[in-house]
């Protein structure tokens, strides 16, 4: 497994929360947001289990909506604890990245 994939594994759930901070969305569109954000293609087999986990932990709230001219879609949005988690974990992450950058800097 290459390095990038390993990094992504660690932060995918936070990235999903971040993607939804911009507003509610459904599975395929979330994948597009992540890809547009530079994270590359997130396979459905990775994304949907992550969404289910976040929903189970109460960080996401979901509802099914009848699509216009199509079958029902499952929409995800951040819950209050989801938003809170994103804020605090985001702060921790920034500190973490800062330290990693500092150590990796070639003097």
């Amino acid at each position: 497994m290459d390095r990038r994939t390993q990094w992504l594994r660690g932060v995918l759930d936070l990235c999903v929360l971040g993607a939804l901070a911009r507003g509610e969305s459904y599975g395929y569109e979330i994948a597009q947001r992540l890809e547009a954000g530079g994270l590359g293609v997130i396979a459905g087999g990775t994304l949907y289990p992550a969404l289910l986990r976040l929903e189970r932990l109460g960080l996401l709230v979901t509802d099914w909506r009848a699509g216009a001219g199509g079958p029902a879609r499952k929409y995800y949005r951040l819950s209050d604890s989801g938003a809170a988690t994103l804020r605090s974990a985001g702060a921790d992450w920034a500190v973490f990245v800062g330290n990693v950058n500092a150590i990796m800097e070639v003097p």
């Binding site: 395929y28 396979a43 459905g44 949907y48 289990p49 079958p71």
Partner: protein, 271 residues
């Protein structure tokens, strides 16, 4: 694999694991429609994806179990068994109530099969007592069948012991076979011609025939393919919901979060 085939396979795999497939299959279908990519690329093999979905959902699907009350249907106290100098079981206690599944685990040679046979009344312990609150059914790891009889004849024979009529016994045996993915039971020939796994299905059915209150199963899934193994655990949980007390000896640990109690017979292990 076409999209429809993949979705159908996913649906079947989820249903086998007792998950309502509507949500995950709907989402996957929509995603595939939007992306236009092949399902194996996006999600991987349906069985693997189903496992990932189930793992993610596992916390949510645990229904709260009501607390145990009343007399246990099976209670073993102080069971000790020695073979020569070797103490196989040392003062073991076990109790299972109606509507409960107990998994008995432990290393090879830790006495799991011996304990089960003592509870079934096939072996005498050196010390201890077993109280049964109902009828017992037992499925050994192997054997327990007659080579020259057909499955139907087995159903009739065991059924007659339980007071079940001929036609009824055959019907019940056949329907249990179907639930274990063995559609060929009615047409099957002599048992000696069956594969090992199929013979074990017969063994399991015979243990359960007659609807005993307590079921003692000694790793009955020998030779089961993965699908049947899952069907087997489905059946165990269904029997539990119907109020049976079930003990399953196993050394496969994947299913432990689905059972109500775990008894570890490894010497020095937690009791």
């Amino acid at each position: 694999m076409t999209v429809d085939d993949w979705l159908a396979a996913l649906s079947a795999e989820l249903r086998r694991r007792r998950i309502d497939p509507a949500g995950p299959v709907g989402e996957a279908a929509a995603h595939l429609r939007n992306s236009g990519q092949a399902p194996l690329e996006v999600f991987g093999p349906p069985a693997a994806y189903a496992v990932a979905v189930v793992d993610s959902l596992r916390g949510a699907t645990r229904e709260p179990r009501p607390p145990r009350s009343g007399e246990p249907l099976l209670r073993a106290t102080g069971i000790t068994k020695r073979y020569g100098r070797r103490t196989v079981l040392d003062d073991v206690d076990l109790s299972v109530h109606a509507g409960e599944v107990l998994a008995m685990i432990g290393a090879n040679g830790s006495g799991k099969s011996t304990m089960l046979r003592i509870c079934a009344g096939l072996l005498s312990p050196d010390a201890g007592h077993v109280r049964l609150g109902g009828t017992v059914g037992y499925c050994p790891q192997s054997g327990g069948t007659s080579d020259f009889l057909t499955p139907d004849e087995h159903f009739v024979l065991v059924g007659a012991g339980r007071g079940v009529g001929r036609t009824e016994a055959k019907a019940r045996g056949r329907s249990m076979a179907a639930a274990l993915d063995w559609a060929g039971a009615p047409r099957a020939g002599e048992t000696r011609h069956l594969s090992g796994g199929t013979r074990q299905k017969l063994n399991l059915i015979l243990g359960r025939l007659g609807d005993p209150d307590v079921l003692l199963l000694d790793e009955p899934y020998q030779g089961f393919d993965n699908g049947t193994y899952l069907d087997f655990w489905q059946q165990v949980l269904r029997w539990r919901d119907a109020g049976k007390a079930i003990v399953v000896v196993t050394h496969l640990l994947n299913e432990l979060d689905r059972v109500d109690t775990v008894l570890d017979l490894t010497p020095g292990g937690a009791r």
